[in-house]
Amino acid sequence: MPETLLEVRNLTVNLKLGNRQDVTAVDGVSFSLNRGETLGIVGESGCGKTLTASAVIGLLPPYTGYIAGGEILFEGEDLTKKTARQMRAVRGEKISMIFQDPMSSLNPVYRIGTQMREALRVHRDVTVKEAREISAEMLRKVGIPLPETRLREYPHQLSGGQRQRVMIAMSLLSNPSLLIADEPTSSLDVTIQAQILDLIRTLRDEMGMSVILITHDMGVVAGNADKVLVMYAGKVVEYGTAEEIFTNPLHPYTQRLIGSIPRLDMDVEYLSTIEGIVPPLGQMPKGCRFCTRCPLHTGVCQEEPPPPFRIGEHVIFCRRANPAFAG
């Protein structure tokens, strides 16, 4: 039985909007993640996937985002109960995060070596020389040639793929048990994307850490994740193992996301798309949030939120998934 590393229960994140009423941007999200596994969080932009992960690492937008309810159990401790200072000790040490655009996630005015040393020194007492050695070793591990030279260089002297490798190396310096990768490949070339995803998978296995992979692209999740959480408009619509989600997607939204993956082994004339747009926060439908775009919705979908339908660990928030439901 694999050990559970992270268990999120009923997480709710609110955003403050100036003088107006706060809006709920992440609504009752639950999932769990075992050691050494990868969880893919999938959804369109603005669906709350980044906020969910930010809440886990304690990096909600300052003064606007806050956790309004739920628990984040990480290694048995509830992170929502920790103070800002205690969370700082967790960040970078136990949980690390990398971001979408490696161009802007490294500070342009500091050398690579300085930035990596800073990451080391927050949590450990190391000399400059030790820091350089540890950093070079880590750069070698993520496949960067001539690491000693790279340490003396600035981010703008590296290519996009190399920068993302540096970010990965920097985030893994303190051997974290959880790496959150927020759209780590979205701004990279397709060939580089595959390399970076391979690298993350390899390092996960080597270092025995868990990964949360946030993406809008089902294709990225396929083959990289053990579990998949599909989010729509701040809520979970479907959650299960990757195998279940890909072989037997039961929510119409998930079905469409999978249908929009370009495939080489099938001769299709066009990719399926999802009509319409996500309703804005604060103007959510009373019932199922997807009903404005769902081709299968019925009257009751508009009136009441769908109850969870469970098949083992596989959860679907759609009435259609329940064979007993007669629409």
Partner: protein
């Protein structure tokens, strides 16, 4: 980078050439009255004496030639003799340059010391009470002319509260550094107050740009404290554009220092310049012009260098 620096120095020299040429030409248009100043009040000169004096000063030559002569003398290290005081301009300026450097230096220091953090904190939470307070402070600095701030401060702090000296650099017979600093605080803070609004505005907008960047999230994700994130990553990265923006203000700081020097009786080159303009003391005006232009352009070049040091993307261009 080296080539860029040479270009900057060349253009700075050209700018100095143009400033001095423009001011020289302007002054030559009021040359006649300068001769009257020299002749002394009430002293009547005959036509012949007048011509002789004109010739002695070289005023009968065309303007451009006189400018060339002046430039030649400057390059030889000779700034001429003040009409008014009858002593070499170089000596007068040398006596008073230190006082001005001290005043302007302290003013710029105060401006940055207060303006940068205030602007950074305003950008940290736009629309907050702190942001609105700082923009009100900035507006007050923009809108109050320096001479009014001086008069109001002297009235309140020197006369009503008796906290600060109203005049000069030293009390008579007291040359201690403490006394000097006591005299320095009010005038330099007044100059800083005038320039600080600009610094707050610039650092706020530069930081607003930077605060959206992902590398601040990276810094937080490393576990750095909020203070380190804001200053070590936020302000540090925004510093290069802020400094170039501040450069634009340096001539205005020098200009307002002149007024403050005059009101406080501070023995610097700003008040010297105001008196020289009033007295139509051409060699002295030209001398101070040269010094001011030189200082502004040196500051320019230094800031260019600082920009290169602060932003590696420029250095490796």
């Amino acid at each position: 980078m080296t080539r860029y620096l040479y270009e900057r120095i060349l253009s700075a020299l050209l700018t100095m050439f143009f400033i001095t040429a423009i001011i020289y030409t302007l002054l030559s248009l009021i040359q006649g009255s300068a001769l009257n100043v020299l002749g002394g009040s009430g002293a009547e000169m005959s036509a012949a004496e007048y011509e002789a004096a004109r010739h002695a000063l070289g005023l009968d030559l065309p303007v451009w030639l006189r400018y060339v002569h002046w430039l030649r003398d400057v390059l030889r290290g000779d700034l001429g003799v003040s009409y008014r005081y009858g002593i070499p301009v170089g000596e007068i300026i040398a006596q008073r340059l230190g006082a001005s450097a001290l005043l302007v230096g302290a003013a710029i220091l105060f401006t940055l010391l207060f303006g940068l953090p205030v602007g950074v904190m305003a950008a940290y939470r736009p629309g907050s009470a702190w942001d609105r307070l700082s923009s009100f402070f900035a507006l007050a600095g923009f809108s109050a002319p320096r001479f009014i701030t001086c008069i109001a401060c002297i009235y309140v702090f020197s006369f009503k509260l008796r906290l600060m000296p109203a005049m000069g650099m030293h009390n008579v017979g007291n040359a201690s550094p403490v006394d000097l600093i006591h005299h320095l605080i009010m005038p330099s803070c007044i100059i800083a107050f005038g320039a600080i609004g600009y610094v707050i505005k610039q650092s706020r907008s530069a930081c607003l740009d930077v605060f959206h960047e992902d590398y601040l999230k990276t810094a937080r994700a490393k576990g750095l404290s909020e203070v380190e994130v804001i200053f070590k990553h936020g302000l540090r990265t925004a510093l290069a554009p802020i400094l170039t923006q501040i450069m634009v203000e340096v001539p205005e700081i020098v200009g307002s220092a002149a007024i403050v020097e005059k009101i406080f009786g501070w023995p610097g080159i700003g008040s010297l310049m105001l008196d020289a303009i009033r007295n139509r003391d051409m060699p002295l005006i030209m001398g101070v012009t040269l010094v001011i232009a030189f200082v502004v352009l040196i500051a320019n070049i230094l800031l260019d260098l600082a920009y290169g040091l602060l932003d590696p993307r420029v250095r490796y261009r």
